[in-house]
């Protein structure tokens, strides 16, 4: 229990200590996860909407694939990305391995099924009558899709929130493809693993508290958006 209370107070201390190394880690965590979320949202929401609105025959199969993707173990994603970006792999020329770019790629792959799968579910939940109605009012195809997405926005934002939670707390993939390099690819989760490994339990707890606080703030911000729109 000692570690827990000490960790909690250490977290508060750390936040106000203005330790540049800590802020670097926090900033990198947010940058990697933020960019990965942005990309997976930009691809995942349209893909999810398209799947939810279309009536192609393979939809059942694709849905199953997407839902399975939500359960992808991050380490497996990490290993896949590692092998792709390795100098002996097909994308080795990019030189992305052990850089934040590799971590972003891994997180996009983890977040994409969550965003697109949950968006699809949300879009499917919209009353079909809405589409008929806007179409009868002379809406174009794009306007029609937009109207449906707007109606499903609660579910869509929930999808983005779920993806955010999934990737900001993820450690297996970023550890593998980022390498946990100090000052370069060390994020909150890999720093927690490092401190656990070396027995610095209260520091690990402190970083965990900071991670939770960040996730909480981000979620509050997104939920406010949800409430206002």
């Amino acid at each position: 229990m000692d570690e827990l209370t000490r960790g909690f107070f250490q977290a508060i201390q750390l936040i106000f200590s203005a330790d540049p190394a800590l802020y670097e880690i926090i900033f990198l965590s947010l940058r990697v996860t933020g960019l990965a979320l942005l990309v997976s949202t930009a691809i995942g929401v349209p893909v999810g909407a398209a799947l939810g609105l279309s009536n192609i025959r393979a939809r059942g199969f694709i849905t199953a694939l997407l839902y399975t993707g939500m359960g992808l173990p991050p380490v497996v994603v990490g290993l896949f990305v590692y092998l792709m970006l390795s100098r002996s792999g097909p994308f080795g020329v990019f030189g992305w391995l052990f850089t934040p770019s590799a971590m972003i790629v891994a997180q996009i792959i983890i977040a994409f099924p969550l965003v697109s799968g949950l968006t699809m579910a949300a879009v499917q939940g919209v009353d079909p009558a809405l589409r008929l109605q806007v179409r009868s009012l002379g809406a174009t195809r794009a306007q029609e899709v937009w109207a449906v997405l707007r109606e499903a926005r609660l579910g869509v934002i929930a999808a983005i929130v779920a993806a955010f939670g999934g990737i900001i707390s993820e450690v297996g993939a970023v550890m593998l493809v980022g390498g946990n390099i100090e000052g370069k690819t060390r994020v909150l989760t890999t720093a927690i693993v490092l401190n656990t490994r070396t027995g610095e339990f209260s520091l690990a707890i402190a970083l965990g508290v900071i991670l939770l606080a960040l996730a909480f703030l981000a979620n509050v911000a997104m939920l406010r958006l949800q409430g206002k729109s």
Binding site: L38, A42, W96, R197
Partner: protein, 444 residues
């Protein structure tokens, strides 16, 4: 509603502007991502022109980077943090440390994903050389393994000197044992000892636990479970304060007390073969190897101590060993002197050596053995114009004291420290005047 539109717009704009952000090329977009161009707005990102690989590289790898794949023991103990700044300054190249088990470290090297390796599993290192993944393997440093276990020692291994005897006793007593089980260098050493006594530990043995974890986690679990384990001394020493239930049972208090050759733990340094992989930073990797093996860096490795003041690694390069035996100058004295001095360690030890109990401003009283500083100053015959002394350490650290102060201080010594390094002992002066790894005294 407007907010929602704004976010969507922002997302698209941001993606477009992040040209250096990863293009989603490796993202497995399902085939329906581009449906019959009917339904959803097309995914904007997919159409963003991918920048050429070279421009991405330039944007992401600003400046020089050298990737060092190594074992957790060198990083977690703090050694690399202690020595690497010197290399980074000299070579103007940042070292990216990937600290994993030796097994993974070598796998990373084998795929050409690291430029240089610092690992400890001799058998696999030799295989690495044979496979042509490196041109040469170099001895760089060593320490040793110890058998640690619970204080009550149920298998009664206290007093044993051989790792093999200890493991045999543990197996006979069926006492709980934690194995790294992760293909690391330490795991390999443990398996070699088991093999030497004809025991093949399997998961069916109730007392044998193969954790598949790093040294730190394994020590922590052993501490919790009251189990035995084999650990590298470096990690053990750096974590002792967190392991109240464990003690060293075989291997003694330091490496000089360890009588078992099977517990010897040499580290190898290898630059990854640039002919085999594209993109290896061969120039800096070779520079790094040269730097690691140099006498100066070797002395730095030998002077590294953990928080409790214990030495964790011992220098072992050919350059260091030949330097030590032929007696390279250990201390030079230059500047405002009539007779410049280049003194070997042997020469210093041949002078009048005294042993004094002196008080360090921070760590208190201790015994120091060395040569009086004033005797050295007399030897060099200082010019009348001289006013101060500048001590320089092997890592570039410098400290200044006035000549008057030094002359007044009869008990100031140049001390023989561990690993054939020199240290100044300056009683009644600031701790910054106590210079470790002293190599030069300049008189101004």
């Amino acid at each position: 509603m407007k907010k929602f539109l704004l976010i969507a717009l922002l997302a698209v704009v941001a993606i477009a502007s992040f040209a250096c952000a990863p293009a989603p090329a490796p993202t497995p977009v399902p085939p329906t991502a581009a449906p019959k161009a009917t339904d959803a707005p097309k995914p904007t990102v997919a159409t963003t022109a991918a920048p050429t690989p070279t421009s991405i590289r330039a944007a992401l790898t600003s400046g020089c980077h050298l990737i060092l794949s190594t074992t957790t023991s060198t990083a977690d103990s703090g050694l690399l943090k202690f020595i690497l700044p010197d290399f980074e300054k000299k070579s103007n190249c940042k070292v990216d440390v990937i600290a994993v088990g030796t097994g993974q470290a070598m796998q990373i090297g084998q795929r050409g994903d690291a430029d240089v390796l610092l690992v400890h599993d001799r058998a696999r290192e030799d295989q690495f050389v044979k496979d042509g993944n490196t041109k040469e393997r170099f001895d760089v440093m060593y320490n040793d393994f110890v058998a640690v276990g619970p204080k009550n020692d149920p298998a009664k291994i206290t007093g044993m000197t051989m790792g093999a005897d200890a493991l045999k006793a543990i197996a006979n007593a069926k006492a709980a044992f934690m194995s790294r089980g992760d293909g690391s260098g330490t795991h390999a050493a443990e398996m070699r000892i088991w093999a030497s006594i004809g025991i093949t530990p399997t998961k069916d043995l109730q007392w044998y636990n193969s954790l598949g974890q790093g040294m730190g986690e394994t020590l922590l679990s052993s501490n919790e479970k009251g189990a035995y384990t084999i650990a590298d001394r470096g990690t053990w020493l750096s974590m002792t304060s967190k392991l109240p239930n464990l003690v060293v049972l075989v291997g003694g208090n330091d490496i000089s007390q360890n009588k078992d050759k099977a517990l010897f733990n040499p580290y190898g340094l290898m630059a990854v073969n640039p002919d085999k992989f594209k993109g290896i930073n061969a120039e800096k990797a070779n520079e790094f190897v040269k730097w690691m093996l140099s006498v100066e860096t070797q002395k730095m490795i030998g002077s590294f101590k953990d928080l409790t003041g214990q030495i964790l690694f011992y220098p072992n390069s050919k350059e260091y060993k030949s330097g030590a035996s032929t007696g390279n100058a250990a201390l030079t004295m230059i500047g405002a002197v009539d007779k410049e001095q280049k003194l070997t360690l042997a020469a210093l030890k041949g002078m009048s050596v005294v042993k004094l109990n002196l008080e360090h401003p921070k760590s208190g009283k201790q015994d120091y053995e060395g040569v009086r500083l004033n005797a050295l100053l007399d030897l060099a015959q200082i010019k009348a114009t001289a006013t101060k002394l500048v001590f320089t350490a092997g890592d570039g650290f410098m400290a200044e004291v006035t000549l008057a102060d030094a002359r007044k201080c009869a008990d100031c010594l140049v001390v023989f420290a561990a690993n054939d390094t020199l240290t100044t002992a300056m009683p009644n002066m600031a701790s910054s005047a106590w210079v470790k790894n002293l190599i030069k005294i300049e008189i101004k």
